[in-house]
Structures are given as C-alpha cells and as structure tokens.
Amino acid sequence: MIAVEHLRMEYGDNVAVENLSLEVPRGEVFGLIGPNGAGKTTLIRVLATLLEPTYGDVRIDGIDVLAEPLRVHPLIGYMSDFFALYEQMRTWEYLDHFARCYGIERKRRERLIGEALELVSLEVRRDAVINTLSRGMRQRLCFAKSLLHEPQVLLLDEPASGLDPAGRVEFREMLKQLHDMGRTIVISSHILTEMTGFCTSIGILEQGRLLAAGSVGDILAQLQSGMRLDVEIVGDPAALVGWLESQPHVEQPSVVRNRVRCRWDAPRDQLPALHRALVAAGFEVVSFAALDDNLEDIYMRISGHKTS
C-alpha cells in the first residue's frame, strides 16, 4: 500500500531522513518509533504530500505522491500532533466543511458526519463551538475529520500526545476498530507503551535512518533476541550473576532492583535444564520467569538513543 524508496530529506545542512526505503502492506498498523527529531514527522508529512523530499520515490497505492498529489489526497487521512482547528466553527460545521472539500454528496455527508461524531463520542457536542471544546475533544474532532472521507490510509503523527490515560485507551480501541475495517495505518510515537498491542509492524527510526522495519516477530527473529529471563533468589544476586556468566546460552546477566536479568538465546524447551542446574548449584529460587521482548526492549536494543 505504501512504498518508499531511497527517501532523503534535507533541511539546509540538516539531514532529517537519510536513504530510507520501506514498504507497508495493505491493512497493516505500522508504528514509527523513534526519539524526537528522528524523522518521523518528516516521513509522515512526505507521505501526506505536504513536503517534497530532497530525493526518493514515494507511492501510495501505486500512485506517485510527488507527481499526482491530487489523486493521493482522497486515499489518505492525516492527523498531525499540532491539531489546529477553525475556532469559530461548530463541531458539525467543521466536519461539514471538510466533507464538502472532499466532494462528498449531501446525503452521504450527513450520514458520515453522524457516524464520525459517534465514533469519536462527540455526538452530544455536535453544535458546540470548537473553542469551547477540551483538548481531548478537539483531538477527537480532528481524528473524526481524518476519517470522514473513508480514507484507505491513515497517517497519524503522535495522535495521542496530550490525551489523558482514559483517552489513550479509547483512542487505541478506535484504532483497533479501524484496523479491523482493513485500513492501513501509519502511526508515529516516541511513547512506546502507546504502540504496544496494536501495531502489526514497526519501523525504528533514529537520526533519519531506518534501523529496522517489519513485524515485531520478524524483528525479534532478526535480532535473534530469544527472550529475557528474570530470576529472584534469596541471598546475594551478584553470586547468581557470576554463576550465570559461566552458563551456555546466557548473555548479559545483570542485577536490576535486587533481581537478576539476562538474555536467553536457546530454545524455550531448554529452560527447565537451566532451572534444574540453578537449584542444583544451591541457589534458593524465589521466582524464575521467561519474558518475551516488547517494543520497548526491541527499541532499546536497536537504538543508539540519538536524535538528529
């Protein structure tokens, strides 16, 4: 659905995106992860036809966004982290304005506005003037605007920034619904917990470079990360660290808050043997847990934590 090849974006001497190539299949929820200044916003603005890249080809549904931006516009819904609205309009007027701008016929317009307001739970504020809405409501209205013309691709740049915890959960549910409806979603965030659970694939950006991209499982496989072990014993954890360093398939043992963490790069079914050896070595085990890597772990392992 989205194909990016050799993308480069320079602002003067600053390289925001460097030689980035990427493919996002139809129906994916693609999470762009990276620190502030990694190039996430630039990439999304290029996809949204708002920025011309210095070099590279960008296609959405096979259409060149540089050559035919007007053909791309009906396909995309865009929401930026800076969701400015027309303050003097009423909620429904704002949506009506954009529905007209997308050339939606009157009857369909009325139905879609109703549906969009319902989806973002703003139907009771239908006639409210926008400058009376709270930040969360404004954000939801902006999101409703992005969905109005039923775009195939949603480009969401830090969409949940500034939402309260309940708002974030609600927002995540909305995204899941849209994913179930088959929409392709590109969502950026530097808050990894926001992305956990619903991104089907991710791309890790740092200093304008794509360090890794693909499904979470694929990236884990690429990293050959296996899993993490978390062990709690009675007594000095440093002794356990010393013992683990001598064991095969165990990497990077360290003490974290009186527990020992390490990586395990052998198959899962070999773990009971390690457990037995641990007990046989005389350690009094309180807990022995195998943890799968989450987005945060993947990001921390891949990233050098640099901004451009």
Partner: protein
Amino acid sequence: MSGWDFWNNPLVVTAMRLKYRKGSPGLTSSAYAVALLGIGGVLHYFELQPSGLPIPFGRAYLLAILALQFALSGGMALFGVSSSITAEVANRTLDFQRIVSLSPRQIMLGKMLGEPALGYFFALTTIPFAVICWFLGAAPGPVIVLLYVNLATFTVMAASCGLMHTLVVPENSPQKNKGSFAGLFIMAFFMLPSFLANSGAMLGNPWPAVVIGTLTPVASLVQLAQGNAWDAIVPLWGLEIPSLVAAPIVQLAIAAWIVAAMSRRLRNTLDPPLKRSRVYAATLAVDLVAAGVCYAEYLGGTPLAEGVYRFCLAHLVASLMMTLAGTPSRDAVSSWMWRRRGRVPAWPERLWGDRSPALAMYAVQALIGVAVFLIAAWLPASVNRGPLRPADAAEILPPLLATGAFAVALATVFQALVAVASKSGRGLAVFLIAMITILPPIIASVVNEMHGGRQDGGGATDVLLGISPAGYLLGNISRWDGPTISAAAPLVTSAVLFALAALALNSWIVANSRTIGGKLAAMSVNQAAPGKQEVPA
C-alpha cells in the same frame, strides 16, 4: 464541483456561513445604509449653503458613495483575505486544507471570493442609493453599471493581492505581519491625499494615466467629477480605450495571474510563484502596453527615439518584478540538481523548467523587450510615416540593448546570490540592485555640483549615470534635448556584473553537483536517469 462553480466552493460556503453568523450582515448593512443616508444629508446641507456644492448634488452623492465603497470593498478584501491566509499558515490549518480533494486553484479562489463576504453586502447596500443618484442625473446608466462592474473587479483584484503570502509557517511571530500591514496603511494614509491632489495632472500624462486608469477607479471617478467618466482614457496605439472598460479587464487579468501564482505555491512551496511561460507572457503583456503608449505618444508628436527610454524603463521594472517571481530559490535549484537534472534535455528545461537556474529566462525576457518595441512601436511608426532613418535606428537600438543587458545582469546577480546565500542572499541581492540603481546617480549629482552644476553631460558624470539603470534611463529622459548618455557604460557595467554573478553561480553549481553526486553514491543510487544527461555547468 466544477472549477467555475464558485458559489458551491466549500471555502466560500463556510466563509459565508461564518460571516453571516458572526457579523450579522443584515444588521451591519442596515447601519451602513443609515451612514450613507447621513452622507447624503451632509451633502444636501452643503448644497443649501450660499457657496453650494461645486458639482450637482446627485453626482457629488454618487461620487461619495462610490469612493467610500471602493475603499471599503478593496480594504476589506485585501485585509480579510490576507489575515485569513496569515491565520491559516500560522495555525497550520492550511496543511489540512492542502490535502483535500480540491485543487489548489479552487482553494485559492474560495479564499479570494469567500473572505470579502461582508464587502459584498455593503456593495449591495449602495445600489439603491446609486439608482437614486441616476434618477437625479448624476451619470448615465451605462456609466453607473460599468462603475459597479469596476467595483466588483477591483474588489477581486484587492482580494487576490491579499492571497500573496508566504505559505510556509513563518519563523517570525505573526505580529511582524501586522506591523508590515500597519506600515502599508500608514504609507497609504500619507500618500493617498497627495496622489489624489495630483491625479488630475498625472492623468494628463499617458504613462501614469495607463497605470492609474487600469489599476484603480481614480481616473474614472476624477473624470466623472469633472463631468464625463468616459473622458478617462487609456491611450494605446492611437486608440482611446475608456478606463471604465479597460480597468475591469486588466484587474481580472491581474487577479487571475495572482491566483495562478499562489495556486502553484500551494501545490508546492519549492516552485517559484511564476512558471517561466507566465513570466514570458506577463513581460510580453507589459511590454505591449508600454509599446502601445509609446506609439500613442509618437502619434502625438514625441519622437520614437525619446519614447524608447520610457519604454525601456517600463520593461526594466517589469523584468525585475518578473525576476523576483520567477527565479528559483536555493532549495529549488538544489532540488533540480538532486532530482531533475539530466532527466530532460537541457535547453527545454532551461527555457520552461521551474527549478533550473533562470539565466535563459532572463535572456528571453530581454529579447521580448527588444522584439516588442521593434514590432509594436517601430514597425507601425515606419508604416505610418515612412521608414525610419538610420540615424533613428542608431538612437533607438542602443537603449534597447543596454536595458536588455542591464535586466539580464541584475537578474543574474539576483539568481547567483539567492542560490549561493539562500534567504539572506535574496535580501542582499535586492540591496545590491538598489545600490547599483541609486548610488551612482547620487555620486554623479555630487560630481556635477563640484563641476559647477553643468548639465551638459559627458565625462565622469555620464559614466557614473551610465553605471545605474535608473541613472541611464531617467537621465536620458530628463535631458532629452541635450546630449544623451552613451550606452557604453551600461553595457560594460552589465557585462562585468553578469560575468561575476555567472562565475559565482557556476562555481556553486559545480561544488554542489559534486556533493550531491557523493551523497547519491553513498545511497547506492544509480545517478544515470532516463533521457539525455545534462553536462554539469
């Protein structure tokens, strides 16, 4: 929605909806109608005084209504559209507007037509009063109708001027924009009275008459005050086109031209506002009008060899304005080097492309100037009064060549500095061109004073005047009866400026080409693109 279906344009619908709710135009228009009645009352009071009114009451009332309405409609359109665009850019709502299904042209037209909504209600309010004035014999019906057509086109033109705004989120605070508008307003406040006071005398000269008569309603209103609005004319090739007819056409053309330029900017802010084809068309249009006025003066007894300097001045001003609007920025030239260079044959790209250095465009503009004067002024003069003498040719060709050389040299300086030094280069180039234009004549006048104020030309004074385009052209216009300033100094100055600027530009292109080549190689991108490969400059 078709491109011409203005009133279903979503931006117009929304603007009308908001203005109607916010400003309650019915109430505001009623208040305006009362104010118009008050003006009528005041004029009637003065009519009843012993000194009376200098012109009949009906005509005075019509002039007062129209003058007020022109100022109101124009001001509301200009500031309404401008502040709307400023807010859209600063609040970044323009980003959402840019990615809808409307074309950039529809967006710009919507802004231009929707924002002055209140001005339309005010204009409609004046119509019954204008009808009363017509009953009172203020002016013939067709004149009043054409003045209202003029009001509509003037409002559209003013609104289109409001569109001219950066579409990139400014680094400065929006307050600076307000400051510049305030400056404009203060300037207009001080300049307008003297302009109006001198308008009668200015309208007697065909050059200001063309500018005032086509861009403003002042000529028609001044002549209406003197008895007959049809006397306001635009003299071209011996035709006396009424300003009432010419102004709407020119104003609509300017509005269309600005909408096209800003639509292009909205589509891609990297592209210069004007396509090269539009630069050529606009230069051609201004040159044709200038040649038409020149020929009209010739028919009135002014020698063509004198008129050519005025034509050259008009051409130079138009060329430099087109240079500002058609020269690609540093980012645009860089983009051409990254993406487009080598993908299309070099010469078509240089003549018609958007982002290659615009040196070929400047040369074409200069050629247009020479060709238009020869075809549209010299040729009809030869047909009318027999072939011109070789002596005339010797007088006419040097200023045409010198002006063309000046235009190309100054534009190349502009392109070089914009490319090499980016935004600061733009300011530096404008400063440098202003200095080249202003400084030599000032020094020349000092030198002249030191030599006892002789106005006979020659020597250092003429060389100094010849270095400046303004000095060369205005100097020759002002001392037409005496010895003219030779074209040698302008040609030498232009050659030196061009050589230096072209060298700087070329060095920058070569260095940048190398850098980009290195970056492309690092990206493992095959630089060879389809089509003829252009050799780096």
